[in-house]
Symmetry: C2
Subunit: 452 residues, 2 copies
């Protein structure tokens, strides 16, 4: 039994380990064009920040550990073709190419940064994207010898790097074509993030919203200026592009595997693709949203792990269903926690729900406790059915706590009225007597009916 | 319309405010034997600790504020009899007694400390219980001039005071007849609390487990020694008894109102007692456990607030159901967070479930993050139905987070398999890739069936 896995960061590494445990006698082989395997992508901003200084800390499982458990790892190996009819893959390695046979194939090719077409982009060596360990090392090194940085994109990677750079004394310009950071959130909530960031004293950063980078300027392979579309010129020592990601689904598409509307590889609950014996998981695969039932592409490390496990189980002949995602996420920027789960109001609207929502601003503990911080919380429900659709939280460390409380409600398809019966833990050191979450739900309940 | 409320701490104060908002023209009167109204009992340990030094910070709403909104507050007023047939209460105040008529009566008489019968108990003035603002002030004052304290009882009030005293430099002896603190938890979990507390360097406290106080010894109204049942003698400057609480249900019982098996006042979902026009809420009232469906008495501030609101609504003619409690609670002792929701394994066993459980010890964030702490988590389910029954967590600040995630699962009556589909937020700064909670649930799932 040959089990071949393409890609080895999160989903691929997890799948390899799981399938080997289930089928100790199978030959399990990972092929990755990366020069590292099994690492924590989500930890890269914290390595850059200096929370730890050895990049190897990011490695979850080394090549040696994989080998020890009987898993072959082929680094710097680019899979250029999948040949489903003969059940082979064609691998191109430095100086050679070879066909590798599979009985079960697991595609975990991940995603890659989206890079907008900007003048000068390819002329300079100090313009970075963030995906691999090499990226991480290069960005940390240049950050340590720089005074000014430009980040393109205020999504979660952009704002995590903003924290890392500014805490390391590097003045950071963040450019985004949206009017605020974290534009995945509803407007009130990305505004709540902005309010907190703007209140910081002696800010070591500056925002350029509703802006795009028109051109990179520099000399000798080093960009030292970016020009925005309104002709603002920003001097800088390096640039990082965090303008979003795209699924690496081309290899699958080329093999005739069905691609979903989202651009990612279509899979069923068993992580099977449209071609027999081929599975896909992680950032390259499409997901089902548990609340809307729709196909979505939300690439996240926690999901990749679960999908890798599930794909491995089914490849090994052990039945496993992956139900889907809630799009739950958390990130941090300079003591502000930002978290969401389920649908935002704008997503709910777009899908065809009739959303109603409530935003509350509250203390996160009883006001007299010294550790008390503030939290802005938005809860969204469907006015017709009363079904809870999602929650977003922005505030002091711990705001994610309320969002995780909502995830279980979404899994259970609770109405707001049912959720309002919740009995949350209370102590002055942990929350107000009536938690902001319950408070918001009670108000939301009144917007739906008069019975709660 | 006369609405009379007996008791004014949490449930009573909330009920008064709510009923006045719903019926602005009604006469709303609070009678309490306390000399304060509307205060945060749960904040008392933090006042004693010195997190704030003005006791008035504990007051949620002052008598003046009540008066301003048209609510009469009668302090130091002991209600000695309820006369349901004539719809009066008999109030005894310093120097007088009067009959007060009601159309709707809300009983919120709360609970009182249970005081075991110990030799010498009534001979000394430096033996305290913790319930009122006066208790709080007296304990803080004596703590500030003391070197050694004895606490009887290692429940949550006992351990919160242990934190307060020891942080104020007072060496604290805690005596409990159980083998560990927080004996409401399952044994592994109270042991996990003990492991963390025992690891503290330069401990300013000492435990005396499986012990009872046999006698208080002292002179001139001041106890200066307690003698344990094994004849251990402990010198001390003052003593606090936190040996549990009892519902103040005697007044209701005397009026012919039905009392539940738990000893608290029987109420239905509308917070109605067995006698028409009389409601009960808060610590004096019996509750329904949402997981077991059984009647329980779990007196907590958060519940009192919700019940007060619900009793007020029904008294005002606005339909409101209070479904019950999960027994969710959180407390803190010296950087250890202790939280639970639903049924413990021993409770589940007693009730007739066939419980299975899993305990995990994990980091609460990715190990490489500087803020990472440890968490011990126990999840309990019913082996027959797969139904999730409860969770307990002990660990660094934030352990309560996982417990609140479970509360919503219990409200939705999820099975462990359903809960395992949860999509929790992930970032290295907030949790490991697979949260300890999901990890525990996956293992638990395997103990129930092979399908998850």
């Amino acid at each position: 039994m040959n089990i071949v896995i393409i890609g080895g960061v999160a989903a691929g590494a997890k799948a390899a380990a799981k399938v080997k445990r289930l089928l100790p006698d199978a030959a399990v082989k990972i092929y990755t064009k990366d020069s590292n395997v099994s690492y924590s992508s989500c930890g890269i901003p914290y390595y850059i920040q200096g929370n730890f200084t050895d990049y190897r800390t990011l490695l979850v499982r080394s090549v040696e550990e994989f080998n020890k458990s009987g898993i072959e790892v082929h680094l710097n190996s680019n899979v250029v073709k999948i040949l489903p009819e003969q059940k082979d893959i064609l691998v191109s390695q430095p100086g050679k190419a070879e066909l590798v046979a599979y009985d079960k194939l697991i595609i975990a090719t991940g995603a890659r940064p989206y890079i907008p077409d900007i003048k000068g982009l390819n002329s300079f060596s100090n313009i970075y994207t963030v995906r691999t360990i090499e990226d991480a090392i290069a960005i940390r090194n240049i950050m340590l010898e720089s005074k000014t940085a430009v980040i393109l994109g205020g999504g979660y990677i952009g704002i995590e790097l903003l924290e890392s750079f500014s805490r390391n004394g590097v003045f950071t310009h963040l450019v985004d074509h949206n009017p605020a950071v974290m534009s995945v959130l509803d407007n009130e909530m990305s505004n709540a993030v902005m309010n907190r960031l703007n209140k910081i004293d002696n800010k070591n950063f500056m925002f350029h919203f509703n802006s795009e980078i028109k051109e990179f300027v520099g000399d000798n392979k080093t960009a030292n200026e970016v020009i925005l579309n309104d002709d603002t010129k920003i001097k800088c020592d390096f640039i990082v592009i965090c303008a979003g990601v795209k699924p690496n689904s081309e290899l699958a598409k080329d093999a005739g595997i069905e691609i979903g509307e989202t651009g990612a590889i279509k899979v069923n609950k068993l992580m099977r693709t449209s071609i027999e014996n081929i599975y896909a998981c992680g950032d390259c695969a499409e997901k089902t949203h548990i609340v809307s039932g729709q196909k979505v592409w939300i690439p996240l490390g926690s999901t990749a792990n679960k999908e890798g496990r599930c794909a491995a189980m089914n490849a090994a002949g052990v039945y496993c269903e992956f139900e889907g995602v809630l799009g739950s996420m958390v990130t941090r920027c300079l003591n502000t926690t930002i978290a969401m789960t389920g649908l935002t109001e704008k997503q709910a609207q777009k899908i065809g729900f009739k959303p109603v929502s409530v935003v509350v601003n509250k203390y996160d503990k009883v006001a007299y406790m010294p550790e008390t911080g503030e939290i802005t919380l938005k809860v969204v429900a469907d006015k017709i059915t009363g079904l809870l659709l999602g929650a977003q939280a922005v505030g002091s460390i711990g705001a994610d706590k309320r969002v995780n409380t909502v995830t279980s409600g979404l899994i259970g398809h609770l109405t707001v009225e049912q959720f309002s019966r919740n009995d949350l833990t209370y102590s002055p050191a942990y929350s107000p007597t009536i938690d902001p979450l319950l408070n918001a739900m009670q108000i939301l309940c009144n917007k739906i009916s008069r019975s709660c």
